[in-house]
Amino acid sequence: MQRSYRKGAGVSGQRGFALIALVSLIVLISAYLLVKQLNAATTAGKSNHNAKVLNQAKQALIGYVAQDAALASENNPGRLPCPEAAANYGDPAQEGIAAPFCTLPAVGRLPWRTLGLDKLVDAALEPLWYVVSPGWALPSSGVTLTINSNTTGQLTVDGVANDAVALIIAPGAAFTVPAAAGCAARLQTHPTAAGTLDLRNYLECENATSPADANFVTTGPSGSFNDQVLRVTTADLMPEIEAAIAVRIQREIVPTLKTVYADPKWGSGISAANPLFPYPAPFSNPSTSNFQGAAVTVGGAPQGLLPFNQTQLCNPATDVRCTTTLTAWASGTPPDVTKVGGYGSFQTKTCSWQSGGDDAYCEGEYREDSTNTTGPGMVISMTATINNVAMGLRVLDTTKATIEAENNDPSGAPLTIVTPSVTATMNSSNGSVTITFSGTLPNIDVQGWDTWALYRIRLKRSVIGDHALLDATTLGPGSTGWFVRNEWYRVLYYAPAPGHTAAALPTPSCTSGGTCLSVTNVAPANNLRAILILMGRRINLAPLSSDPAGYLEFGNASLDTVFERRPVSKAPNAPFNDRIVVLDTN
């Protein structure tokens, strides 16, 4: 029994070993599969977590930019914050606060505290990183930016140029980066000491170029790359910025714009209640247009670009909007001076164009009127017409009309400056302005002068000057310089009712439901005297062109007297991003 038992045991032991080996093998294989599966699940989980925090950061960033752009104190609406100041790393009181200025393209940690976020971390518990394109953040003090709907992000992502405005990156854990195509080998370490961060310790491959360039990638060679990158593009950012800009145009630009020609000094029928609006500039490629208004109508109404041309303090050689000769003297009428009242008479009169044709000038001598030695002196007047005033935004600068009188004896009384009264009358149709100014010369007898004296009368062409709205230099709350610097006028479509242009002088008006403009979905729809449309980013990204239909959508693209307001929509089959800004209503 014992023998046979041992024999049995021996055989059974041998078979058992094979079984154990087999079971171990199965267990090992299934364990491997399980671990692999779990590992894959963990990787997916990590990537999901990263996607979530990256997206939260992106939403907060976009919202922050839009909210900041809406503030009247923001001189560069649409600008992005810089990354966290490098020196703030490791300082609990300062970390997460954006640097005021940064060298662009800037790569650093996300300024979570400036955005109002919690300290978001990726799956490897690393705070997020953030890249800003050149042109979208302030590089240094005193610099201003130009951000409008046509501005592109200048970051090249995965080889696509001008792809992104900003990137938010989950850097992943530090690891030993093996050299691979496009990747430099590096032993990444995450120092805990406060001070400057080396981006190569967090980012890899193209993203880790130091100092940073504008090229970034979202993928890299397996094993050498663990960044998870989320792009912030102009398509993401622009609708939000445009919403803020539409609000600012309504609040900060419209009140000024509608008072440009809303004073009786431009003509007896013009007033704040019956303002006149300048002619629009015929629509052409907004990046190359000269923005000069013209008395033309499209589809029954004058419409096109805002006539945002300049005639002063600009260089025609470098700025196509600049035409220093636009507001020219009407030809055919040489300068002249006439007596319109008072006592006295001209003894001599010499009139000429001076200062290269810019000044209408007369001088000469005038005599006493011996029949009246106590009454008012001779009233003299000059009249001249300046063309193309209603083709832009102009002001009447009465300091450019001067009258002087002087005793004929040079050692006698000093020069007398006469305060002239200036009236301007805008002429129907062609938008020219006739300026008449007059002044009462001193009564020679009252002054105790000789029997005659000298007079000089001068009208400078700059009596019609550029409106303050064209000034790009103003800064701070209440200023309009941001509108000019950021060139938002290039993205504005402008349509005045025909009755409120110079064509309808002397009294600008339109009738509700009749000759006024109409905007569908604006209540009341039919009483609009002038509107602006923030055309927004070109949705199909066609090149800039001279066709307004490439910028406007739905009812606005039909180019007639009826416009349309709709909810802004990114729907791929029916996108709409025109924002109506009402300039004036009946």
Partner: protein
């Protein structure tokens, strides 16, 4: 008999052997249970975090549909905002998440949203009031002396017409309750962000429910009904400002406006 008994006796375990085995089993069991309880704790925390995130999303969705944020619920409103329809919230800084108003699913029998420890989720919303006469326009906290008018973020009309340049100016999150006042963190170093970024805070009072700790300095600041809140990593009982296990999430003004703009609600 005896030859048979002897092997049987040899096969049996001694008391010592049994003791050792039981000790090992106890140790193993203990470690497993310990890990398990840690896991459960972690799970509860993750679950709470998930619920707070859901609440955040629901609040933003509510804002898109209704053009405003809801007011907090009070202790007697059964999970409805007070007053119904928004406007001047009865308890802007010291109320509960209005679960019924925003459609939050996990609620207690009273109708209030709860975290995974069955404590009610709390909610504070900015009660800043727009001042139209000032340029640039600002939003003023209701604590100012001027009589309160309908605030910005909980009033549909105000939010629409005052627009997106109106920033909140009341809610603020501090790192610690040390040095805080009823309206500020008591210094820049103590604040998590500036005082014009947070429009709403949703938070769980944690496992301890803000009641079990003493002193409850930091946690106390979150339930005292004022506009100043404290958020930091959990601290154990015996920490300087007491145990802290509150978990806060918040909505920034940028997130709110961004969502409302892209939904076409604003401007």
């Amino acid at each position: 008999m005896s030859p048979e008994r002897t092997p049987s006796a040899a096969r049996g375990f001694t008391l010592v052997e049994l003791g050792v085995v039981m000790m090992i089993v106890a140790l193993l069991l203990g470690s497993v249970l310990y890990t398990l309880s840690g896991q459960l704790e972690q799970r509860s925390f993750e679950e709470t975090r998930g619920r707070l995130e859901t609440a955040r999303e629901l609040l933003l969705s509510y804002a898109i549909v209704n053009g405003r944020l809801p007011c907090p619920a009070t202790a007697t409103s059964s999970g409805d905002e007070v007053p119904l329809g928004g406007g001047n919230c009865t308890s802007p800084y010291g109320g509960f998440l209005p679960a019924r108003t925003i459609g939050f699913q996990v609620v207690d029998p009273g109708g209030y949203a709860i975290d995974s420890w069955q404590n009610r989720i709390r909610y504070a919303v900015s009660a800043a009031v727009p001042v139209n006469s000032q340029s640039p326009r600002i939003c003023r906290p209701v604590s100012d002396t001027t009589p309160p008018v309908a605030p910005h973020f909980t009033d549909r009309n105000n939010l629409k017409f005052q627009g997106i340049d109106c920033q909140p100016s009341d809610l603020i999150i501090c790192r610690s309750a040390t040095g805080i006042t009823p309206t500020t963190c008591g210094g820049l170093a103590n604040q998590v962000m500036t005082q014009n970024l947070v429009v709403a805070i949703v938070f769980s009072v944690g496992k301890n429910g803000s009641l079990a700790c003493a002193p409850c300095v930091d946690e106390g600041a979150n339930i005292n009904g004022d506009q100043v809140f404290v958020s930091h990593t959990p601290a154990p009982a015996g920490a300087t400002n007491g145990e802290f296990d509150d978990y806060l999430v918040w909505i920034t003004v940028g997130e709110l406006y961004g969502k409302l703009i892209s939904a076409g609600v604003l401007p």
